[in-house]
C-alpha cells in the first residue's frame, strides 16, 4: 500500500472558531493507482491535498495518521516533512503559472532546487524528461515570462516529478487550461505513471468527466467527509451515494440538448463547516434521507473496492 490515511482531521483556525474542512477521512491509495479526487468548492479536497504536503499557518492537524510506504508522515512537523517532500510526495500546484521564479532562468531555478535537496542537477536527464512532456531543452535557458501558460504548466510537472516521488498530487492542474491543452496535460500525467516516474497519483479536480479519462479510481468528497470511492467506471455508471448520482446526472454532455432532456441541479447548498450538523452532511439535500441519517453512516465497503458512506447503499 502506497498511501494509508486514517481518520485524518485538519481544521482551519478562524476568528469565529475552527472550520472542520477535513473531518475524519480514511482511505488508501495502492501502488500504481491513479485516484481522482472530486468534489465541489468547500468539500475539503484541496485541504486534503495540501495536508499531505504542507500545512499552512491557518491549518491545524487535529488528529489521524498518514502513512506513506509504511512510514508515518509527521504532518504537523514542518521540518520533519522535509524528508518526504519532493522525494516521497510531491505536488503540482493549482497555479503552476505562478510557481516559477520570474527572476531566474528555468534551468538555473531547477538547479538551485535540486542542490537544496542535496542532489546534483543532471542536464541530460532534465532534457530527456522535458522531451517526455513535449518541450525542448531550450526552455532551460529561458525565463518563465517567455513561456505560454501550458508550457509553464508542463515545466512545473517535470520539476515536481524529478526525484521520482512515490506519490504525486496534482491539484486542479487542468482547470485553467483550454480543452486541447487539458487533454495534453492529462495524458502526460498518465504517462508519468506508465513510465514509472511516479508510483501513484492523486488527481484533485472538480471535473469528473476529465478525471474519468485517466483515473483508475475516483473518490468523491462532500463537506469535509468522504462520500464514495469506487473504480472509475463503476463510479460513473453505477454510483451508490445519492450525492454522486445527482452530481453525475447534473453534468451536461456533448450530445445532450436542453429540449431533449432537462437536467436538474442539486437544490440547497453544503452546510457550514464551522458548526457542521450531526449525522450525514448531505441529509438536508438528499432525496432519500430518512431517520437513520441523523447518525453518521460509516464509509463502508459495499463491493470490492467500492466504499460508500450512506445507509441506503447497503
Amino acid at each position: 500500500m502506497a498511501l494509508n490515511v486514517t481518520d485524518l482531521r485538519v481544521y482551519y483556525r478562524t476568528l469565529r472558531g475552527e472550520v472542520k474542512a477535513l473531518d475524519g477521512v480514511t482511505f488508501s491509495v495502492a501502488d500504481g493507482e491513479i485516484m481522482g479526487l472530486a468534489g465541489e468548492s468547500g468539500s475539503g479536497k484541496s485541504t486534503l491535498a495540501k495536508s499531505l504536503i504542507r500545512l499552512d499557518g491557518r491549518m491545524r492537524h487535529a488528529g489521524g495518521t498518514v502513512e506513506l510506504d509504511g512510514r508515518e508522515m509527521p504532518l504537523s512537523d514542518d521540518r520533519g516533512m522535509d524528508r518526504f517532500r519532493f522525494r516521497e510526495v510531491s505536488l503540482i500546484p493549482q497555479y503552476s503559472m505562478s510557481a516559477l521564479n520570474p527572476t531566474r532562468k528555468i534551468g538555473k531555478m531547477v538547479g538551485e532546487l535540486l542542490e537544496s535537496r542535496g542532489e546534483r542537477p543532471d542536464r541530460a536527464e532534465l532534457e530527456r524528461r522535458l522531451e517526455l512532456v513535449g518541450l525542448s531543452g531550450d526552455v532551460l535557458d529561458r525565463y518563465p515570462i517567455e513561456l505560454s501558460g501550458g508550457m509553464k504548466q508542463r515545466v512545473v510537472m517535470v520539476v515536481s516529478t524529478l526525484l521520482n516521488p512515490s506519490l504525486l498530487i496534482a491539484d486542479e492542474v487542468t482547470s485553467a487550461l483550454d480543452v486541447s491543452s487539458q487533454k495534453a496535460v492529462a495524458t502526460t500525467l498518465l504517462g508519468f505513471r506508465d513510465r514509472g516516474l511516479v508510483t501513484s497519483m492523486m488527481v484533485v479536480t472538480h471535473d469528473i468527466a476529465l478525471v474519468y479519462q485517466i483515473a483508475d479510481t475516483i473518490m468523491v468528497m462532500y463537506a469535509g467527509r468522504l462520500a464514495e470511492k469506487a473504480p472509475a467506471d463503476v463510479l460513473v455508471t453505477a454510483p451508490r451515494h445519492p450525492y454522486t448520482a445527482q452530481l453525475i446526472s447534473a453534468l451536461p454532455e456533448v450530445g445532450v440538448r436542453h429540449e431533449d432532456r432537462r437536467l436538474t441541479g442539486i437544490p440547497g447548498s453544503p452546510p457550514s463547516l464551522l458548526k457542521p450538523p450531526e449525522g450525514c452532511r448531505f441529509r438536508d439535500r438528499c432525496p432519500l434521507a430518512f431517520d437513520r441519517c441523523a447518525e453518521q453512516p460509516p464509509f463502508a465497503e459495499v463491493a470490492p473496492g467500492h466504499f460508500v458512506a450512506c445507509w441506503k447503499a447497503e
Binding site: I208, A250, E253, G265, S269
Partner: protein, 303 residues
Amino acid sequence: MLKLDGVSKTYRVGAFGGGELKAVSDVGFEVGEGEVVSLIGESGSGKSTLGRMILRLASVSSGTITLDGRDISSIRDRKEYYRQVQGVFQDPFSCYNPVFRADRVFTMIKEQYFPRAGADEWRTRVETALESVRLDPGNVLGKYPHQLSGGQLQRMLIARAVLLDIRLLVADEIISMLDASTRIDVLNLLADLRARGLGILFVTHDLSLGNYVSDRTVVLRHGKVVEMGRTDLVFGAPAHPYTRSLLASVPRLHAKWTDAAPEDMVEDAPCAYHEAPQESRTRPGLAEIDSDHYVACAGKEKA
C-alpha cells in the same frame, strides 16, 4: 435583432504601439429574438472581445454591429442601449461590493433607470425578477455577498439584467466559476429566459455547455469564424478539422479519449469549404454546406 457584419478588432501592442494585434477579424453572425447563440473558442480566440464590443465596452475597429438595423455606435444615449442589452460576466464575487448588501445592485438600477418608481411598486418588480431567476426573495434580499453562494449571486446579476426588460443578454462564461451542482440550474434559467423571447449570446469555452443550451453555435479560432450554424449540425456533423479536434478533446463521462476511432483524428480530410460549390460561398470566407451550416477553409491559416 442583433447583427454583426464584418466585425474586426485591432489592438495596438508593443512598446510604442507600433505593432498590431488582430483579435477579431471579419466576424458576422446574428442573434434573433428568443434564440441562444453560443460563441465557442479557446483562450485568445476573441470570444470575450466580441462580447465586449456588443456591450460597447470596447470599440469596433471595422465592420458594424446593428440592433434592429441601427448601428449601436450611433446610439448616443448609452442608457437607452443598456436598457435593451446587458451583460453578465464570469466572476460573480467581484461584481459586488463586499461592504454593501448584495441587493444594492437592484437599488442602483432603480436610481439610474427608474428614479420615479414607487417603493412598493419597485419591491414587487424586484421580487418578480428574482422569482423569474428562481430565487426566493426572502432568502437573498438584505444579505451580504459573502452570505450567498456563487450561483445565487450569479442569478441575482441575471435578475438585475431582467429588471430592465432587456432583449439581449451577453453571458460571458457565466457558469465556469460555479459548482457542478448549481451550474445546470443557471443553464436551465437561460433556457427559460429564451422561452420568454430574450436573445442570448452565450460565450463559453466549454463545448458541452454550449451544446446543451444553444440553438446556433459559432466556433471561433484566432479571431476568425471556423464553423457556425445550427447547433445540431455543428456538433453532429462538424466539417472543419478544428471543430472535430475540439470535440474529440472534450472529456466525456461514458467514453474515454482512447476509445475514439483514430480515423477521427486524421487531419488531411478534404477541405469542406473548397469542396462546396462556388455559389454556396454566401458569406466572406465561409461556405454554406447545409442549410444554416457554414464552414471556413480548413487550409493552414496564417498565424
